[in-house]
């Protein structure tokens, strides 16, 4: 009965209103390049201080889930991830939009986000205490190998040349090392520039590497930005449902990957969506279509990044360890409201926690109609707006968003510099995706590697530390499978064909 009362509390008109407002605000902010879900929550958190704790949590959860989802709009329509979580959505979302399937890509992203969000929120509701133990089982070695697993994606992202993909990824890793060293504190590769002392912010790098090349190519011709049919085809829901149903295992697998990675502190939606994308490509019968507008790529990345929302709350609420940066801000808001996180939270303040969990579920479900409507509006706007309006608007958001991250003009310069380099490299066949992969995964890989190296050195068991821990071994096996699967499948295919041929002849 208690559970039912919490569900009814989450469905109260006031909480429904907060959920709708939160999802709309989060989606719009997340859709604008430079304005992330973290920023949306940071800015809007003070507005919730006057609310009861459970209502504040419902509003913040809705903003968070909307913010992560909203990132897909810019990723699909202008090849610029609205948030780091939607980096991998650009890989197939934008090619779909370019060939005239932008509306379908947005509807698929909406379905996948709702599906992933529900899996993450249900995991939070039903499995929070046992899943929290997963977070504790991950040490530096596991983080290092998780980053390595993400880096295997470079093979999939290398457009035409694996060597160029590897070089691009290394350039990204080098960019991630600029500034103060994670372990040791040495100042590295700043060339005496004060603007580089704090390193290169991921969002700044992301905007520069993705957005500037797109903007430059936008002005290169008078042709339309996206190919569109003469007749708009609505939401294309039936088509999207059909694709979603055929990709149901991909959705479920990607949502599960998002949930597990979301639980890990500091991993977050960007890594979850990259790993889910790599796994979806490996499991696909047509991996060669990934990166060229494969709908399953969009399904995988959007399901995974939204699953991290609910999952990120698991260590936040049960252990007091935030899973993602937005969780850290929400944890601070909880403390302001007098909510003490930890194992006893579920017994001592169950009404707050369960109302919030049901509220997150409700907000995720509300994202379906709200997202479809906003997505349709965004799509029509981007295809209707002429280039001489679209280009300055994107440029304005790019400069404004970059500056607002740390109130730094130095960041604007870094963004422009990286953008010009990315554009020049793209002319020579180096895509931006491997570079961004290196920027995102570099800090996690380095920190995990150096810490594990120190631990191994102190215990005198470096090899055992790196290779013999069960979770690390499982991740190594998964990475090896992703790398070697294409070779193995090529070797196995003729055998299957031969046997089929034999059986037919018999």
């Amino acid at each position: 009965m208690d559970i039912l009362s919490h569900l009814l509390a989450a469905l109260s008109p006031f909480h429904l209103l907060l959920a709708v407002g939160g999802v709309v605000a989060g989606t719009i902010i997340g859709a604008l390049p430079g304005l992330t879900a973290t920023m949306a929550i940071a800015v809007l958190t003070p507005l919730t201080f006057g609310l009861p704790p459970e209502s504040a949590l419902v509003a913040l959860g809705a903003i968070y889930t909307g913010g992560i989802y909203g990132g897909c709009y810019a990723a699909i329509l202008i090849n610029t991830p609205g948030t780091p979580s939607s980096i991998a959505t650009t890989f197939d979302g934008f090619p779909m939009a370019k060939r005239g399937d932008g509306d379908l890509a947005l509807t698929l992203a909406n379905f996948a986000s709702v599906c992933g969000g529900l899996v993450g929120a249900l995991s939070l509701l039903l499995l929070a205490p046992p899943l929290a133990q997963v977070a504790l089982a991950f040490g530096p070695v596991e983080y290092f190998w998780l980053a390595m697993l993400g880096l295997t994606l470079v093979a999939a992202l290398s457009e035409g040349s694996l060597v160029k993909g590897i070089i691009g990824c290394c350039i990204g890793l080098m960019i991630s090392m600029v500034g103060s060293a994670i372990v040791g504190g040495d100042i590295r590769f700043t060339a005496g520039s004060q603007a580089l002392l704090g390193g290169v912010n991921i969002v700044v790098a992301m905007i520069g590497l993705f957005c500037i090349p797109v903007l430059i190519e936008l002005v290169a011709t008078p042709d339309a930005h996206l190919k569109v049919d003469q007749k708009l085809r609505g939401f294309r829901i039936a088509e999207a449902v059909d694709i979603g149903w055929k990709g149901k295992w991909n959705l479920l697998r990607s949502s599960s990957i998002g949930t597990v990675i979301g639980i890990l502190p500091a991993a977050g939606g960007a890594i979850a969506s990259l790993v889910a994308y790599a796994e979806a490509r490996r499991a696909s019968r047509t991996p060669e279509r990934f990166g060229r507008g494969e709908p399953n790529g969009v399904l995988a990345t959007e399901a995974a990044n939204n699953a991290t929302v609910g999952a990120g709350f698991i260590p936040t609420l049960t252990l007091g360890i935030p899973g993602t940066p937005p969780d850290a801000i929400i944890l601070g808001a909880l403390l302001v409201h007098g909510v003490r996180t930890g194992p006893n939270l579920f017994n001592e303040q169950s009404s707050i926690v369960y109302t919030f969990m049901f509220g997150l579920l409700v907000a995720t479900i509300l994202m379906l109609p709200i997202g479809l409507l906003l997505g349709r509006y965004a799509f029509r706007t981007v295809i209707a707006v002429p280039k001489h309006v679209l280009v300055p608007m994107i440029a304005l958001m790019m400069i404004l968003g970059t500056y607002a991250i740390q109130n730094s003009l130095g960041d604007v310069g870094i963004m422009l510099g990286l953008g010009v380099v990315a554009w020049l490299l793209s002319r020579v066949g180096f895509g931006p995706a491997p570079i961004v992969l290196g920027v995102v995964l570099g800090p996690i890989a380095e920190q995990g590697f150096v810490q594990a190296w120190l631990i191994g050195g102190a215990t005198g068991e470096r090899f055992e530390t790196f290779f013999m821990r069960p979770i690390a071994a499982a991740i190594i096996a998964a990475a090896a499978l992703i790398l070697l699967y294409p070779l193995l499948s090529k070797r196995l295919k003729p055998t299957v064909t031969d046997s089929e041929a034999n059986s037919k002849s018999e």
Partner: protein, 156 residues
């Protein structure tokens, strides 16, 4: 429209030059990391060595004519170059004339780089009004609601 060069006939000079530049970057990273502590230098050195090896492979592929040149999007170099100059000018102007004025100027100039038809007087007026409105709305939102402190410059 794509312009694809025949890989068997022509050396992929741009990839070759990029690979040489990347090799030089790797050497600089290795040299620079000599001054860092062991912990801070371990990861950059590893990445630099991988990057150097990959660039050597790319150089060899280019020299042996095995590297297929990248597909290059056709389009106006003038418009591309103009936009690049506008973006750099926009960033340079911000601390001088302030965020608002620099952004209005940048907005108008970047719109011009994307326009291929001639502009009439009413269109000029419309563009200027749109620039002031768009920059004004976002400037107001960020400075008043989100409390982002913008550089003022010597104008505004």
């Amino acid at each position: 429209m794509k312009q694809i060069q025949n890989p068997s006939e022509k050396l992929d000079t741009s990839s070759l030059l990029t690979a040489i530049a990347v090799l030089a970057l790797s050497a600089w990273v290795l040299w620079e990391s000599e001054s860092y502590s062991e912990l801070a230098a371990a990861f950059p050195r590893t990445v630099a060595l991988i990057m150097a090896a990959a660039s050597v492979v790319l150089i060899v592929r280019c020299v042996l004519r095995l590297q297929r040149p990248a597909e290059v999007e056709a389009g106006s170099r003038l418009h591309r170059g103009a936009l690049l100059l506008v973006l750099v000018g926009w960033a340079v102007l911000i601390p001088v004339v302030g965020f608002f004025l620099a952004s209005v100027a940048g907005f108008v100039a970047s719109a011009l780089t994307a326009r291929y038809e001639p502009w009439s007087a009413p269109r000029w007026a419309g563009l200027l009004a749109m620039a002031v409105a768009a920059v004004g709305v976002f400037y107001g939102l960020f400075s008043e609601v989100l409390r982002v402190p913008f550089p003022q410059g010597w104008l505004w």
